[in-house]
């Protein structure tokens, strides 16, 4: 199974009495984009820091690019790239100075350094800003600089911690285009996110909640697996309907989206639509209809079903 680039077995990390990552198993295959989906504080960053050797696991272990962790992570650092959540390059250095610094630290030869920086300035559209201080650039430009600096040493495995949280939607789109170009070149990526549309772009995702892995798989399959359990309710006066449904048995969540209610029914319910129908029977002009689940539904179901 040389296809597996990173694997964790029972990976656990505690901070005092708080368990940030709790017994998580992951398998990440080569050339894929693997998403860690979860709200803030779900353990995504902690998991990533353990996989990059920055944090020592309290329990379990990981094997990243054949290196067993906990263990000597130093040689691994030449083969992985880690783009942190905030901008952690130097704001008081220019784009070029930042890239040169990273190239020196990663021991690129003088010739390679020159060529590689030139190539990255072109790819990430930074040539015009080459002499601009990083602190004076826009969020999107800074993000491209961070990505360029992270992949400068051509890592085989790339860790991206909430890469687009500080970036506008337009920049986010082009940023993901650039990520897929890297995947095409053979790079494997582990991306953490709390954004559903971003998670949907991943080849595989793991849903994390309060340190635990609640579900994992291909986003499309995860959505198909819960088909029929998402019921859309429409009617003239939805607020009382919503209140009644929320209190109903087997109902995991009710969310109003415009003029509709999106109702998620728990796993144990045999006839989800029937259950919802029974609850809304008293309200006039109120209709129900099964609808296509999205990733948010998957997320809510995964975290509510087992969390309760």
């Amino acid at each position: 199974m040389s296809d597996i680039v990173a694997e964790t077995v029972g990976l656990t990390r505690t901070f005092g009495t708080k368990t940030a990552v709790d017994n998580v198993d992951l398998k990440i295959t080569k050339g894929s984009v693997y998403g860690l989906l979860g709200p803030n504080g779900s353990g995504k960053t902690t998991a990533m820091r353990m996989l990059t050797g920055l944090l020592k696991p309290s329990g379990g272990h990981a094997v990243v690019l054949g290196t067993r962790l906990p263990g000597n992570a130093e040689p691994l650092k030449r083969r992985i790239g880690y783009m942190t959540q905030g901008f952690t390059h130097y704001r008081d250095l220019t784009v070029l100075e930042n890239l040169r610094f990273v190239a020196d630290i990663h021991d690129l030869s003088a010739q390679d350094k020159h060529r590689r920086i030139d190539e990255l300035l072109e790819t990430y559209d930074l040539r015009e800003q080459a002499h601009t201080l990083a602190g004076e650039m826009s969020g999107g430009q800074r993000q491209r600089l961070a990505l360029a600096a992270t992949i400068l040493h051509r890592p085989e495995l790339l860790f991206l911690d909430e890469p687009t949280s500080a970036v506008d939607p337009e920049s986010r789109r082009s940023f993901w285009e650039q990520l897929f170009d890297l995947v095409e070149g053979g790079t494997t990526m582990i991306v953490s996110t709390h954004l559903m549309d971003e998670a949907e772009r991943c080849h595989r995702i793991a849903i994390l909640d309060r340190g635990r892995k609640r579900a994992d798989g291909v986003p499309r399959e995860l959505m198909e697996r819960i088909a029929g359990r998402v019921i859309e309710v429409s009617g003239p006066d939805l607020r009382p309907v919503s209140r009644k449904l929320t209190a109903g048995p087997g109902i995991l969540s009710v969310a109003q989206i415009g003029a509709r209610l999106r109702v998620l029914v728990s796993d144990g319910t045999d006839d989800p639509r029937g259950a919802v129908d029974a609850l809304v029977r008293g309200f006039a002009d109120t209709t129900t209809q099964p609808t296509r689940p999205n990733l948010e539904d998957v997320f809510v179901l995964a975290t509510r079903d087992q969390g309760a």
């Binding site: 952690t88 704001r91 630290i105």
Partner: protein, 381 residues
């Protein structure tokens, strides 16, 4: 093991950042410049012109002549005349004056019997027949002021009667080496090198590493193949250069403005200064591994700086301190450097003369660098 390229990359980065940090850049030059001029002119342990009052109960030509003679010593300056002792005491409380001279009604009789005037003890002189001419009351809380007033106790008064003052033959003859004119600034200038280096070197290095933590850069650095020792060395090299610039400013200005010449060899000076800079920098690095933010780093710097000023021998002679304080002072690099720099600059001491202190500084530097590198782990927990 250690990559020179990594170190060079850090050095280059530090210099670029320093160039853009105008305030810090300015401080590097302005701190030694301003402080030298300030301390060089201001610090004077020879007390003159102490504001004083006089209570002249006799109010005769003789007493007025006495007052003029006392003022002529320049130790005190009479600013107030009071009728009663109580008034003079209140003036001392209000700190209007630091001392008061009380001339009694019978000053004339006292004067004729006083050996300070006659130059010899009168026949059968006893306490009852020979009494002090007048009395000083002084604010004794400042020992320097008190000592200056006390020195007036034995002032000769022969001039009062136009008699030639008979200078008594001294018990000892004293020859003062290195600073025969007794100028305070001669001792201050080399000492200031130690104080300013302690301050800037420790503060700059401590802040330089802590800043990487505060801005999150460390998170990026530890995911790269850089080694802690490379980072530490790369961080301190620019400051070694800065330290040398500061030393050049202080000693150059000390020579140009205060005529403090460097007696020893410049090479010896360079070696010992480098040793002290290294020791201070490694201490700064150790601090940086404890401090979580720049404010904490600053506080710890002050914690080291204050005893370095007060206990190192910069302000007060090391020999005058009790043994416990001397032991404490000996743990400070500034104490050792104070001995060395004054030796080299003032007494032309060579490396052999100052070897013990120099070796101590070297040991301190190596220990500090080792501790800092060990404590700086490439981990986030």
């Amino acid at each position: 093991m250690i990559s020179y390229r990594h170190i060079l990359a850090i050095v280059r980065k530090e210099l670029l950042q320093l160039r853009r940090d105008r305030l810090t850049f300015g401080m590097i030059v302005m701190i030694p410049l301003i402080q030298l001029v300030l301390f060089g002119y201001a610090i004077n342990t020879e007390v003159r012109h102490i504001p004083a009052a006089v209570v002249d109960q006799s109010d005769t030509g003789l007493s007025r002549a006495l007052i003029q003679m006392v003022e002529a010593t320049q130790v005190v300056r009479f600013e107030h005349h009071f009728a009663t002792i109580e008034e003079a005491e209140r003036a001392i409380v209000r700190a209007e004056v630091r001392a008061a001279l009380i001339i009694p009604r019978d000053v004339a009789q006292r004067l004729v019997r006083n050996p300070a005037v006659t130059g010899r003890f009168p026949q059968g002189a006893q306490d009852t027949t020979s009494r002090p001419v007048a009395q000083w009351i002084a604010d004794g809380s400042d020992t320097l002021v008190a000592a200056a007033i006390r020195a007036l106790r034995r002032m000769p008064l022969g001039e009062l009667f136009r008699e030639a003052t008979n200078t008594p033959t001294p018990t000892f003859e004293v020859t003062l080496f290195y600073n025969p004119e007794q100028r305070t600034v001669v001792n201050i200038v080399p000492g200031l090198v130690g104080i300013i280096l302690t301050m800037t070197m420790i503060m700059f290095t401590a802040a330089a590493i802590v800043r990487e933590h505060e801005r999150g850069n460390i998170e990026m650095l530890i995911t790269t193949p850089i080694r802690p020792l490379e980072l530490m060395i790369g961080k301190i090299i620019p400051f070694v250069g800065i330290g040398l610039i500061q030393v050049a400013i202080i000693l150059g200005l000390g020579w140009a403005v205060f005529s403090v010449t460097i007696a020893g060899s410049l090479w010896t000076l360079l070696v010992v200064t480098l040793l002290f800079i290294l020791a201070s920098l490694s201490l700064g690095l150790v601090i940086s591994t404890f401090a979580r933010n720049q404010l904490q780093a600053m506080q710890m710097t002050v914690f080291v700086l204050l005893p370095s000023i007060l206990l190192s021998g910069f302000m007060f002679p090391y020999e005058g301190m009790p043994e416990g304080a001397q032991i404490l002072a000996n743990t400070l690099p500034a104490t050792h450097f104070m001995q060395i720099i004054r030796g080299v600059v003032l007494r032309d001491a060579d490396l052999a003369d100052i070897a013990p202190d120099a070796i101590w500084l070297l040991g301190f530097s190596i220990l500090g660098l080792a501790v800092a590198s060990l404590r700086f782990r490439k981990k986030l927990d």
